[in-house]
Symmetry: C2
Subunit: 522 residues, 2 copies
């Protein structure tokens, strides 16, 4: 478990399949579907009727008007008061009239473009688009060779590189693992410089205080090479606002909303409403609370700037009632995913969900919890999937092997979303006529013309027969994933960046590091 | 791997959770959701438009009229001819006019009741009902202790017992594993007697020649203790008819349809149309062929007896184009599941799908392929899931551990299908008011009143934190499954059966064994 990566990767990389090996020419290339904007062709699955949805909506509005929300940030309360919220001098509790919430929520754009520094990696948020974002915020990482340990800069960079290389990971969702060897005061500078240079996809900025937001915005602007005016008119990055459930909005969150919205960047509000812990034990009740918190923060973003791009995040799940530990990918989680989607669409706001699990290793549990999550994503009509690749242990660990497993799962989901070919030739009547009863299609011209691209070719699934598989040492999915991430990481090549932009970026980051970065309380 | 079951099971059974242990009193009891008729509350997901569906339908009818089907059974061809099919003297090829197909398919009942010998286990087929049937027809079985080996009577009985004990497995789908220690001539007699006595749920009869069908029908009748007249008027068992794709209907299949339909029992026609092997390499083309074959056999059942209960089975999947091996739980499989469902509903016929995978062991692959299959089942609006528990290796192996994994997956899917509680109390506004901003719900009365039953409690998922899990030896899902099946199998108790019925059943089976059972060609 202490073998280092260089050693672990020093053996010959043996591609499992001739097809892929044959196509793999130069360094940096391997067989994968192209980068593409994903569109979910399916009508989202409704879990409640329109009347039932309205009951949840109205209950959330009652929570906001009768119970209210605690807002710890003075300027935010002042903004809310100036826009008509019930803010009193002697308390942080803010009450919102239902009509006020609805008035401001109505300003949310239903769709917007997300600009990456490489325009080929621009994305669309909302409608029936689906964006897949890399896992974020794990304190630990793990792989089969070196076991589980706190994250460092090398692991951070490895995950970033892997996400850049794989087309199915369409943007960064934050730091896949926290690099604890970088001091928190300058961590955001080092990490965002890495993200902005090692990848050319859109990314997330943490809302952890004013300085980090503003530094992140400037790094995103420089990386795109655009003016402040153009930057403010095009979404180029996003932040996740996790409310302090129940019903609290803290200072860094409010700072995040204020600065991101003022700069025209996306705010995705995601209450962390675990049923039975920070929210009612019923899924309906937890979603009522999720919805109330989301509406409060989203309305606030619109008070800061009408038309500010926002997302509606659903993260409601249940807990293990024996231990209080969060559970993910459960039936309750799926129900909350579908319900959250119906609510987000009711308000016309893009919907964010996640690919999550509670498993401790890349076993059957990790796979079924993640696949159930993706089921909820697709059928719930989610527009963005955070934590799409790498997530283990309820988010406490980013796993190299899980990342490869998730890449395969995401590629399969993306393939599921591709429209069926229903051309006359695809319907195959002539091919069936030619082969006739009792024949076979292996060698038919219809098959020969299509077989190389007819089906998605998975990267993890082992389809060898039992005997061949057993002779090969009975490798399981985690073994294949372990081989794959090392093979692929070794092929990483950084995306090009103009020298002037690189210089400007370095100058900014170095200056801010010299200035001490962001204040920390330790 | 050679440790025998008795030894493997001799240690104390240590339930992983206090909650279950506390509720587990007498032998034969463990915590599980009750036996219930499952209803899928979701609108099935459409993968093609009505126009596109019509194009597939019309292409299938062209196949049946222009290309035709080879029918190897003389009486069947005579029946087809008598009912208007184009049957010529010098060939086994039968052509069907589209109008003729539609005329007979219109006689199919859209829904019917399935009667078990225990009426509490009766099921409903069709509409938005969902029936889950045990895995069938594996030549091999496996468990972690004893490895993989050909099936025998003890394994066969173990799987039957496990399916009887678990409410989520609602009927038998055939022999979970073939007991090769029983001679084929009498295997059906021994196996069906076991199924009829060790379980009290409805079951499947193999269509492997006239004698086996008739023996199976008589065993089903005796087990229910009903007259031949009552038996013929109530569906009590079913048979799967796998056409010899492409476009061939062999003698045992035609015998099966004739005898099952004449006796009022259900015939579920399931073409085995692997895209790229026995069917066109395009999913649309493979489904055109599936649909043509299904319509031919279903129309034939209606020629045998108008109103005969039937099911429309979809089994279309892709193959590994490198090896020709079938793949399951793939994006292509899911697309075929959704498309098959749309076709079955177009004809108003109950739809059968499956829970299948190509994995060789109970790893992440087995879990994601199976969960993708179940996704297709639910969103495709399937009414019956064959191979719901135990399936590995594309059907070549029934695994004890996979069976437990699938039981958990099925129980989760069943929980997902339960309606949300949207009562005023469940919406939780008062609970949210009571806890207030920044509080927690663990100890609130709203939580206390509900926490024991609020969430589905999985049997495989390990939700302990990493440290506790690692201290316990880092067990993976397959380890939990291994412990579970042994714990549970040890609790098996046979369902009651009236002595007179048992005597009649034994007398029939013993007489048929003395007579030599069914003819075999070896």
């Amino acid at each position: 478990m202490t073998q280092d990566l260089a050693t672990a990767d020093s053996g010959p990389t043996r591609p499992r399949r001739g097809g892929r090996a044959a196509k793999r020419g130069n360094t940096g290339s391997f067989e994968q579907p192209p980068f593409r904007r994903l569109v979910n062709p399916f009508t989202p699955t409704r879990i409640v009727s329109e009347d039932e949805l309205e009951a949840i909506h109205l209950a959330s509005l009652r929570v906001l008007s009768e119970i209210g929300v605690e807002v710890l940030h003075d300027e935010a309360r002042a903004i809310m008061k100036a826009h008509g919220a019930d803010v009193r001098a002697d308390t942080q509790r803010v009450h919102f009239d239902p009509a006020l919430i609805l008035e401001y929520v109505a300003h949310c754009p239903s769709e917007f473009e997300v600009h990456a520094r490489n325009p080929a990696h621009n994305l669309h948020m909302g409608g029936n688009s689906l964006i897949l974002a890399q896992m974020a915020s794990a304190p630990n990482c793990s792989d089969l060779d070196r076991g589980r340990r706190p994250g460092n800069q090398e692991d951070f960079r490895n995950f970033i590189k892997l996400s850049q290389m794989h087309n199915i990971i369409q943007c960064q969702g934050g730091y896949p693992v926290e690099p604890i060897d970088i001091h928190p005061s300058i961590r955001h500078l080092e990490c965002l410089r890495d993200i902005a240079t090692l990848t050319d996809k859109a990314f997330h900025i943490y809302s952890l205080g004013r300085e980090r937001n503003l530094d992140g915005l400037e790094i995103a602007r420089i990386a795109r090479g655009v003016s402040a005016e153009q930057f403010a008119s095009e979404v180029s990055c996003f932040t996740i606002i996790n409310t302090n459930s129940p019903l609290k909005l803290d200072i860094p969150m409010m700072e995040g909303i204020i600065h991101m919205s003022r700069h025209g960047q996306a705010v995705i509000v995601t209450p962390f409403t675990l049923a039975g812990a920070m929210a009612p034990v019923t899924i309906a009740g937890a979603v009522v609370e999720q919805n109330a918190e989301a509406l409060a923060a989203i309305a606030f973003a619109q008070m800061v700037r009408k038309g500010a791009p926002v997302g509606y995040g659903g993260f409601t799940s249940n807990v293990d009632m024996r231990s209080g530990a969060p559970a993910f990918g459960t039936p309750e989680y799926m129900k909350a995913q579908l319900l959250g989607g119906q609510l987000a669409r009711r308000y016309g706001i893009p919907y964010r969900s996640s690919n999550v699990c509670a498993a401790n290793t890349v076993d059957a549990q990790a796979a079924y919890e993640s696949t159930f999550s993706l089921w909820g994503v697709v059928q719930g009509g989610a527009n963005m999937v955070k934590h799409a690749a790498g997530w283990l242990e309820g988010g406490l660990c980013c796993s190299y092997e899980k990342m490869m497993l998730d890449i395969d799962l995401l590629q399969m989901v993306a393939e599921f979303l591709q429209p069926l070919d229903l051309s006359e030739d695809a319907l195959g009547v002539e091919a069936i006529r030619q082969v006739g009863p009792g024949g076979h299609f292996f060698g038919s011209p219809h098959t020969q013309a299509r077989y190389k691209t007819a089906f998605y070719s998975p990267i993890i699934s082992d389809w060898r027969n039992y005997e061949t598989w057993a002779q090969a040492g009975s490798p399981t999915a985690i073994d294949h994933a372990n081989r794959l991430w090392k093979e692929r990481l070794a092929m990483y090549e950084p995306p090009p960046m103009e020298e002037a932009i690189r210089d400007e970026l370095d100058a900014f980051v170095e200056r801010r590091i010299r200035e001490g970065g962001a204040p920390t309380d330790f």
